[in-house]
C-alpha cells in the first residue's frame, strides 16, 4: 500500500525556533558583525536585511577527530600516468591529496555567513539604545479602538450568548428553586418505603396523603423551567482606545556653500539612523526637513539632500522656522518632538545670541535635540554657542563631533545609549 501526500501546504518555518536559538546564542558576535558592517557600507539601504559574517570558530561544534600527521593511505580515482613507486610532492594545505576523508581543518577557516531580516538587523542595531524622555504625550486615542473580551453581562445580542455560562446559571437556578421540595420528597419517599416494609401495599390514609404530596411536589419541580430569560449570559466586549503615540522629527541642515556633498551625505546617514530609530519607537513618525543658509525653508527630502545653495549662514532662521512649525502644526501636547541638526559649525557671528534665545524657547517643548558638527576638529562658532545651552538642558540637548562615516554609528550610539535612571 502506498500513500501519496501533498505536504507543501503545511509546516512552513519549521526551523524558526532553531534559527532563533542560533541567533540568541551568537548574539554577541552578530551584534559586532552588524556594527562592523555599518562602518563599511551605506546605511541607506537597510530595507533588505543584512548579510552577517561571523567567524566559524565561534559556531563550531567540536568532536574528537584526527589532526594532521601520522600515516594515511588514500585511494583515489582517475589515475593518468602514475606507476607504483612514483613520488609526488606533498600538496599544500595539510594532509595530502584530498583523500576521501578530506582535511578536517579545510573549511574550518571559512567564515559562517547567513542572512538576518531587516527586523532582526534593526533589533541588533538599536539593541542597547533608548530614547531619552520617552514620555508618551497625549495619547491620540480617539480614532482607533479595539474590542476585547471583558467578562459577561445579562444583556446583549443573541449572537453573543455564551452557552456554557447560560446553562450553568440555569442549572444553579433549578437547584436553588427545587432543593427544599426535593428534600421533602426524598423524606416522604423514605417514609413510604418504610410503610411498605411494615404493612405491605395496603391502602391507608397516611399512605394516600403521602402519595398525594409526592405527586404535588413532582409537579412543582417539573414546573421550574429548564432555562429562563434571566439565566442567559452574554459575552461582553469592551472598546479600548489604542494608544497612538506619535513623533515628529525635525531635520535641520546648513546648506550654505561651505557644506559639500560629502558632508551632506554624512548628515543624511545620521538622519536616517535617527528616523529608523524613532519609527521603531513610535507608531507614527513624521519628518520635517528644514534647510537654511541665510534664510530657512521647509523642503522635501529630495531637495533637502541634493540641491545646492551658496551664501552665508544664519542658524537662527532655521530655529525660528522650526518654532513656527511647531506652533502651527505640532502642538507639543500631542506630539513627541525631536530635533536633529547637522552643520559644519559655521554661523554669522552676531547670530549666536538670537540662536540661544530661540533654542531656550523651544527646548522645553522638545523631547530631545541632537546637534552634530561635521568638522575635522576645532571649535566653530555654533559649537561655542550651543556649549552654553548644554548645562541648562542636560537631559534633552546633546552635541557631538563627527569627522567621517565611521563615527556616525558610535556617535549615534553615544547620543542614545541607555542611561541609568
Amino acid at each position: 500500500m502506498t500513500y501519496l501526500i501533498d505536504r507543501r501546504i503545511n509546516g512552513k518555518h519549521k526551523s524558526a525556533v532553531n534559527r532563533q536559538r542560533f541567533i540568541e546564542r551568537h548574539r554577541e558576535q552578530i551584534r559586532e558583525a552588524v556594527q562592523r558592517n555599518l562602518r563599511s557600507r551605506s546605511i541607506t539601504d537597510t530595507s533588505g536585511g543584512e548579510r552577517i559574517t561571523i567567524p566559524t570558530r565561534d559556531t563550531n561544534e567540536p568532536v574528537f577527530r584526527h589532526g594532521n600527521g601520522g600515516i594515511l593511505r588514500h585511494v583515489l580515482p582517475g589515475n593518468r600516468d602514475f606507476v607504483p613507486g612514483d613520488t609526488i610532492p606533498r600538496p599544500r594545505g595539510g594532509s595530502g591529496g584530498g583523500g576521501s576523508e578530506g582535511s578536517p581543518d579545510g573549511e574550518g577557516m571559512d567564515d559562517f555567513v547567513f542572512h538576518i531580516s531587516q527586523q532582526e538587523f534593526l533589533d541588533f542595531l538599536f539593541e542597547d539604545m533608548a530614547l531619552p524622555n520617552l514620555t508618551k504625550r497625549q495619547l491620540k486615542g480617539v480614532e482607533e479602538f479595539k474590542t476585547h473580551r471583558a467578562g459577561f453581562s445579562t444583556v446583549g445580542s443573541p449572537g453573543n450568548i455564551d452557552v456554557p455560562r447560560s446553562m450553568r446559571s440555569a442549572l444553579s437556578r433549578r437547584i436553588a428553586l427545587t432543593v427544599a421540595k426535593r428534600r421533602e420528597m426524598r423524606e416522604l419517599e423514605n417514609e413510604l418505603a418504610a410503610l411498605t416494609e411494615s404493612g405491605g401495599t395496603a391502602p391507608s390514609p397516611r399512605r394516600s396523603e403521602i402519595e398525594q404530596r409526592i405527586r404535588e411536589l413532582r409537579e412543582a419541580i417539573e414546573r421550574v423551567s429548564f432555562i429562563d430569560d434571566f439565566d442567559i449570559r452574554y459575552r461582553r466586549y469592551e472598546k479600548v482606545p489604542i494608544p497612538c503615540a506619535q513623533a515628529v522629527m525635525f531635520c535641520l541642515m546648513d546648506v550654505s556653500g561651505s557644506m559639500d556633498q560629502a558632508t551632506k551625505d554624512l548628515a543624511k546617514r545620521f538622519f536616517i539612523l535617527l528616523y529608523l530609530f524613532l519609527s521603531r519607537n513610535y507608531d507614527k513618525t513624521e519628518v520635517v526637513f528644514i534647510r537654511h543658509h541665510t534664510s530657512a525653508k521647509e523642503v522635501d527630502e529630495e531637495e533637502f539632500f541634493y540641491s545646492r545653495e551658496t551664501g552665508g549662514t544664519i542658524v537662527s532662521s532655521a530655529l525660528e522656522l522650526m518654532q513656527n512649525i511647531i506652533a502651527s502644526r505640532y502642538p507639543s501636547s500631542q506630539w513627541n518632538i525631536y530635533g536633529a541638526q547637522a552643520s559644519d559649525g559655521d554661523n554669522w557671528p552676531e547670530d549666536g545670541g538670537r540662536c540661544l534665545t530661540v533654542m531656550s524657547e523651544i527646548l522645553p517643548a522638545l523631547q530631545y535635540f541632537a546637534y552634530i558638527e561635521i568638522t575635522p576638529g576645532g571649535d566653530h562658532p555654533l559649537w561655542q554657542t550651543y556649549k552654553m545651552l548644554r548645562p541648562r538642558f542636560p537631559d534633552r540637548f546633546a552635541m557631538q563631533h563627527i569627522t567621517g562615516p565611521a563615527d556616525i554609528y558610535p556617535v549615534f550610539h553615544e547620543l542614545f545609549r541607555k542611561r541609568q535612571s
Binding site: F64, G69, H74, V75
Partner: protein
C-alpha cells in the same frame, strides 16, 4: 499498434508532473520492483517544498526533532548556499521508518520524480528492510514514535529546567555523539509507551545504583585482606567504547533528566550509525535499481524517448566521478562506486570473463538477482568492497593508492590498477570505509573511584594519527561538564603516552 496508440501509452506527458502521473509511475515501478523481488516497507510518498527540504536537511533528515541551535545553524547554512545558487538541494530524502517516508521535492520534473520514486521508495526502502545492519540495529516501526517521545521529553525539560541548562547538556552530547554508539552489542527495539514507562523506572533505579558506586560511607565489614583487594578494584573492569553510555550510567552528579537526554542522543546516534556504515552500498543499491527499473519501463514502452534522454542525463550526473586532480573532486562518489559494483556483480553473473572466473568463482554464471540480493543483505561498505571490488571496476575507475606519511616530504604511489595492485587497492579502499579507523579510537580507560573521581580516557592511536588538539580540548570541556570531576585524555602509541590533555586545565 499504430504510432499514436503507442504515444498515448506513455506515462510521462511533458515535464510537469501531476499527482495522477506520480500514481501511475508508482504503480508501474512497484510492479517491476516486485518482479525483481524487491521487498519493501509500505511507501509514504510526501511532496514537499524547497524550504521544507531545507528543514529536513537541518534536522539530519528526521521528520520530527527536538529544538537545538545547531539545527538552526545548519538550516541557515543550507539556506544561504541555496539562495545564492552555490548548491542544489537533494531531489529526495528518505527515512528508515515503517511505512517508509520519502520526501519528493516539488521542483522536480516529471522524469526526476520517476527516478526518485524508483531510487528512494524501492531502492533505499528495500535496503533498509533487508540489510543486516539495519535489521539488527534499527527498528523502523518505532522510530517516529521515539522521535515524538524525544521531542516532548526535551521540551518538558526545557520548561522545567530552562533552555540554557538543556542546551548545555545537548551541546555536550552532540560533541560525544560519534562516541555514543555500541559497535558490537545488539540493541533491542522498544515502542513509545514502553519507553515512557521505562523512563520513569530508570530515573529511580539509576540514581540508586550510581549512589551505590560512589558511596563514601564505609561499610560495616571489618577491615581484612579482601578490602585491600577491593581498593585495588579497577573500574570499569574493561575499557568502554560507548562514552555516552558510560557517562549516562556512571556520572556521579548528574540529574535523572540529564541522563535521559544523554540516552536520547545516544539512541539517535545508534539509529544513524548503520547509514554511515553503508553509504556506498545504500546509494549504489538505490542507483542500480532506479537504472534497472527505468530501463525496464522503457523496454516495455511505458516512457518516451524524450523521457529516456532526460533520465540518462540525470543518471550520468549522479554517477559522475571527477578525477582526483579535478577542482570538483571531493572524494570518491559513493553513487559511482556503489553503482559500478552492483552492476559489475550482474555482469560477472551474466557474462563472466576468465578473469572473473578466477576472482569470483562463486558468482560467475549464477543467477544475478540472487547474487545482488545476497550482497545487499549481508554486507556493510567495508566488507562489501573487500568482497566484491573487482579488477574490472578498479580499471574502470583507474583507482590508485597513495601512501602519505607525515614524516616524509613526498607522497608515494604504492599501487595502481594492474595485476599486482588489485588486491592491495581493494584492501586499502575497504579500510577507508572502516569507521573504526577513520574516527579516533577513544575509550574509557579508568575511573579513579577511590580518589578524586577523575575520569581517564585513552586514545589508541591508529597509524600514528594524532587528535586535532584544539577540538579535543573543547570536547573535554563538554565531557567535564557532564562528569563534573577532572577528565583526562591520553593518546597512546605502542604503550607510550605521547600526548595528554586534561580538563579543567591547571
Amino acid at each position: 499498434m499504430t504510432q499514436s496508440e503507442r504515444v498515448r501509452q506513455h506515462i510521462d506527458r511533458g515535464s510537469e508532473w501531476t499527482f495522477q502521473i506520480l500514481e501511475e509511475y508508482e504503480h508501474e515501478i512497484a510492479r517491476i520492483a516486485r518482479d525483481f523481488r524487491l521487498d519493501t516497507y509500505p511507501n509514504q510518498i510526501e511532496v514537499i517544498s524547497a524550504e521544507q527540504m531545507m528543514d529536513a536537511y537541518a534536522s539530519s533528515g528526521m521528520p520530527i526533532n527536538y529544538h537545538h541551535w545547531s539545527f538552526g545553524k545548519r538550516f541557515m547554512q543550507v539556506e544561504n548556499s541555496y539562495r545564492r545558487g552555490y548548491m542544489g538541494l537533494a531531489y529526495e530524502i528518505v527515512i528508515n521508518s515503517n511505512p517508509c517516508i520519502a520526501y519528493l521535492m516539488e521542483d522536480n520534473t516529471s522524469v526526476l520524480q520517476a527516478i526518485v520514486i524508483a531510487h528512494a521508495c524501492f531502492g533505499h526502502n528495500s535496503f533498509f528492510k533487508n540489510n543486516y545492519l539495519f535489521r539488527t540495529w534499527t527498528d523502523a516501526s518505532s522510530i517516529i514514535d521515539y522521535l515524538v517521545f524525544a521531542r516532548n521529553f526535551i521540551r518538558e525539560c526545557e520548561e522545567r529546567h530552562g533552555v540554557a541548562a538543556v542546551e548545555a547538556v545537548l551541546d555536550a552530547c552532540h560533541a560525544l555523539m560519534d562516541h555514543g554508539v555500541d559497535r558490537y552489542k545488539r540493541p533491542y527495539p522498544i515502542s513509545m509507551e514502553e519507553e515512557e514507562r521505562r523512563q520513569l523506572e530508570r530515573e529511580e533505579h539509576l540514581q540508586r545504583q550510581v549512589n551505590d558506586l560512589w558511596r563514601t560511607i564505609p561499610t560495616a565489614t571489618k577491615p581484612d585482606d579482601t578490602s585491600a583487594v577491593e581498593t585495588e578494584r579497577r573500574f570499569p573492569a574493561e575499557p568502554q567504547e560507548n562514552l555516552l553510555y558510560f557517562i549516562e550510567k556512571n556520572a556521579p552528579l548528574m540529574e535523572p533528566w540529564q541522563r535521559e537526554i544523554l540516552r536520547i542522543v545516544r539512541r539517535f546516534a545508534q539509529y544513524l550509525y548503520p547509514q554511515r556504515q553503508t553509504k556506498v552500498m545504500n546509494e549504489g543499491w538505490a542507483t542500480f535499481w532506479h537504472y534497472t527499473i527505468i530501463q525496464k519501463m522503457y523496454q516495455e514502452g511505458l516512457v518516451s524517448d524524450g523521457f529516456m534522454l532526460e533520465f540518462l542525463q540525470h543518471h550520468t550526473n549522479v554517477i559522475y566521478q571527477p578525477p582526483f586532480d579535478s577542482p570538483f573532486f571531493s572524494g570518491i562518489n559513493p553513487y559511482t562506486l556503489g553503482f559500478a559494483m552492483f552492476r559489475d556483480i550482474r555482469r560477472i553473473c551474466e557474462q563472466p570473463t576468465p578473469e572473473d572466473r578466477e576472482w569470483f568463482p562463486e558468482l560467475a554464471g549464477k543467477d544475478w538477482l540472487d547474487a545482488v540480493h545476497f550482497a545487499m543483505a549481508n554486507f556493510k561498505d567495508e566488507s562489501f568492497i573487500l568482497q566484491y571490488l573487482s579488477p574490472q571496476v578498479i580499471r574502470d575507475l583507474k583507482l590508485f593508492a597513495v601512501y602519505d606519511d607525515s614524516d616524509e616530504d613526498v607522497l608515494t604511489i604504492t599501487d595502481i590498477h594492474n595485476q599486482a595492485g588489485y588486491q592491495a587497492i581493494r584492501q586499502q579502499l575497504a579500510a577507508l570505509y572502516n569507521l573504526g579507523d577513520s574516527q579516533p579510537n577513544i575509550q574509557v580507560h579508568r575511573v579513579n573511584i577511590r580518589g578524586d573521581r577523575a575520569l581517564i580516557l585513552r586514545h589508541d592511536m591508529h597509524n600514528g594519527r594524532p587528535l586535532l588538539e584544539e577540538e579535543a580540548k573543547e570536547v573535554l570541556k563538554h565531557l567535564h561538564q557532564l562528569w563534573r570531576f577532572d577528565v583526562y585524555l591520553e593518546s597512546v602509541q605502542d604503550g607510550n603516552v605521547v600526548a595528554s590533555y586534561r580538563c579543567p586545565v591547571f
